[in-house]
């Protein structure tokens, strides 16, 4: 493998039902800033699907200079084998230096399969990506390589953090946690160079058959997009009592989210769950109400700008991450807080 042949930052532009996933646009935003530190500044989106050419312009508006489209009926709904074949073939043909994939239920299946097929490294669930030297500091025993992708990821439920490089293999691949990277402001009317590519799809024993697709009602808000989250835990006590959180969220123009215990109890749908097995969020303001703060939860929200915790247990671990902690009864505090905020906002207008 001649590493120099590999050039440019590529992203896997995930689409589902011919709609681009938010992560695709987030990856473009990051790819653009990474490319600024590299010799090759062009950002390429790889779009796989069936009848998906209509999505090209949106990718251009969010920062793609070039879109490689593999359009084939075999790629209609996500299946591991044809998607792996498509993406691995794109890598062989176009030789990216860096390939970013969303750490979604699709990307966390596709990424490892592709990285194995092309024999390169893959770093999972990255929360930060930079270009820099590897090793970080000059070492007498190994040659310093410049302009490497430095991939930072939490492990151990967010309690350890590691920065990883892939100095001897290409592409340097990472899956990236949704909700962490910033999209750019779309450039209306931007156009990308479009390259159509089809490696041919032939069924083999690795092909699976989709017998049924069941969409689970998801009329709920996107908690990763919310600027203010009012999050409740087991301490809220019941599904009905979430009303007081709904009211507070409404007063603040925010969205309600929850901990795993709430989902397990059936009080709220899984889409609203924050944490390691739920979603990672980083709103400007995060209310943790009746949430004890298990590490799995904290891993999903600790990057929030301001964290306010309300809990009756003064020893709850949530107070270790909260900027402002209030020990007290949420049933009394939350309704009174909603009222006071409404008054304050009314007085302002």
């Amino acid at each position: 493998m001649s590493l120099e042949e590999y050039k440019g930052v590529f992203i896997f532009a995930q689409q589902v039902d011919n709609e681009l996933s938010s992560i695709a646009l987030e990856l473009l935003g990051k790819a653009k800033s990474l490319a600024e530190d590299l010799d090759e500044k062009k950002v390429t989106a790889v779009l796989l699907g069936s009848d998906v050419k209509g999505l090209v312009d949106k990718l251009a508006e969010y920062g793609a200079d070039r879109v490689i489209v593999v359009d084939d009926p075999a790629l209609k709904d996500y299946r591991t084998e044809p998607y792996t074949h498509a993406l691995a073939s794109v890598i062989d043909e176009f030789k990216p230096e860096i390939l970013l994939v969303g750490a979604t239920a699709i990307g966390r299946d596709l990424g490892p399969r592709v990285s194995s097929r092309v024999h390169t490294g893959l770093t999972a669930d990255c929360t930060s990506l930079d270009i820099g030297d590897f090793p970080l500091e000059p070492s007498p025993v190994r040659e310093t390589k410049h302009k490497q992708l430095l991939m930072t990821r939490p492990a151990f439920g967010g309690n350890t953090i590691a920065t990883i490089a892939c100095p001897d293999f290409r592409p340097q691949m990472a899956t990236v946690r949704p909700g962490v990277m910033q999209k750019i402001d779309p450039i209306k009317g931007a156009k990308a160079e479009v390259v159509e590519f089809n490696p041919g799809f032939e069924e083999n024993d690795c092909y699976t058959e989709i017998l049924k697709i069941v969409k689970e009602a998801s009329s709920v808000a996107d908690i990763q997009a919310a600027k203010i989250l009012v999050s409740g835990g087991r301490g809220v006590g019941s599904a009905e009592n979430f009303k007081i959180l709904d009211d507070l969220a409404e007063a603040l123009g925010g969205t309600v989210s929850c901990s795993r215990a709430v989902v397990d109890s059936g009080w709220k749908p899984k889409d609203l769950q924050v944490g390691q097995t739920g979603k990672t969020v980083r709103p400007q303001l995060y209310f943790a109400i009746g949430i004890s703060g298990a590490i799995q939860h904290v891993a999903g929200m600790e990057e929030s700008d301001i964290i306010i915790a309300i809990n009756k247990d003064e020893n709850a671990p949530i107070f270790d991450v909260a900027d402002y902690g209030v020990v007290g009864d949420l049933n009394k505090i939350v309704p009174a807080l909603t009222k006071k905020i409404k008054e304050a906002l009314a007085a302002k207008n």
């Binding site: 792996t84 966390r108 490892p112 990285s115 999972a124 069941v214 689970e216 209030v326």
Partner: protein
């Protein structure tokens, strides 16, 4: 039918993570357990044993002390256990780990391989799909239900995504990665616990791995390399107040929201 379940011994984070006084993780103070997603995978395999008389083999790669999770698997009902352990396998990333496990699996007969979706220490979810690629098998990740049609030699899996699920059919042999939501793993039985210490764990080293080059094993065979690793020092303590009344609490919060220009 032959089922192989890949399991991993991991430090327990459920009982709370322990910190040293300097705020870094105290790994020694935490118990070692069978990874939860893997345990669900083992339970799924044991149900196939109950239903079809499948033979269940558990396989782990790790230090010699990982023997403990294999004994636990015996006590739950596994038939055979293999420990892959060798100094040269240490420091492996997911590529080298999956190459190692694939090398071990090539010695075995199987219709179905089950792995957990991810381990709670690394959280990568990569090793299962990577093994499947090394062995040229179909893979279905994120399984919430597994059904086997022994006659047709197919599996049907409820495969979870963020906003939907697919019912996916694959030909056997294939690999499935299990979510801990798949089932409620059974307890060890007293008879099983007794057997667990009678039964023999097969121990394999580097020489027992089939069709794997040294360049794909251990630290040297790992494409990814750690530039820096640190236990994340816990965020500095913020303020904590215990007001006497709800009014006081509300004034405090509204004060902060105003100060931060939220309202």
């Amino acid at each position: 039918m032959k089922v192989v379940v890949c399991i991993k011994q991991v430090p327990d984070t459920k009982g709370g993570v322990k910190f040293k006084p300097d705020g870094t993780l105290d790994r020694g103070a935490m118990l070692a357990i069978m990874n939860p997603d893997d345990k669900a995978g083992l339970e799924a395999a044991l149900r196939l044993k109950d239903q079809y008389g499948a033979e269940v083999t558990v396989l782990t790669m790790g230090l010699p002390k990982a023997d403990a999770v294999l004994r636990e698997a015996f006590a739950m009902g596994a038939d055979k256990a293999i420990l892959v352990t060798d100094r040269v396998l240490g420091g492996a990333d997911t590529w080298a780990t999956s190459s190692t496990i694939a090398g071990a699996l090539r010695n075995l007969e199987y219709d179905l391989i089950i792995t957990g979706r991810q381990a709670i220490d690394g959280d990568t979810a990569q090793v299962g799909p990577q093994i499947s690629e090394h062995l040229h098998l179909p893979v279905i990740s994120y399984a919430e239900e597994i059904k086997v049609d022994e006659k047709a030699r197919t599996v049907e899996v409820k495969r979870q995504f963020e906003d939907r699920y697919h019912i996916v059919k694959a030909k056997m042999p294939c690999l499935v990665t299990a979510l801990s939501e798949l089932n409620e793993p059974r307890y060890m039985t007293p008879g099983g616990i007794f057997d667990a210490f009678e039964k023999e764990v097969t121990v394999w080293g580097r020489a027992d791995l089939k069709d794997v080059d040294d360049s794909n094993l251990g630290l040297k065979g790992s494409p990814t390399q750690i530039a820096k690793a640190s236990d994340k020092v816990k965020k500095g303590q913020g303020e904590k107040v215990a007001p006497d009344s709800a009014e006081e609490a509300v004034d405090y919060i509204v004060g902060k929201l105003t100060e931060k220009h939220v309202i």
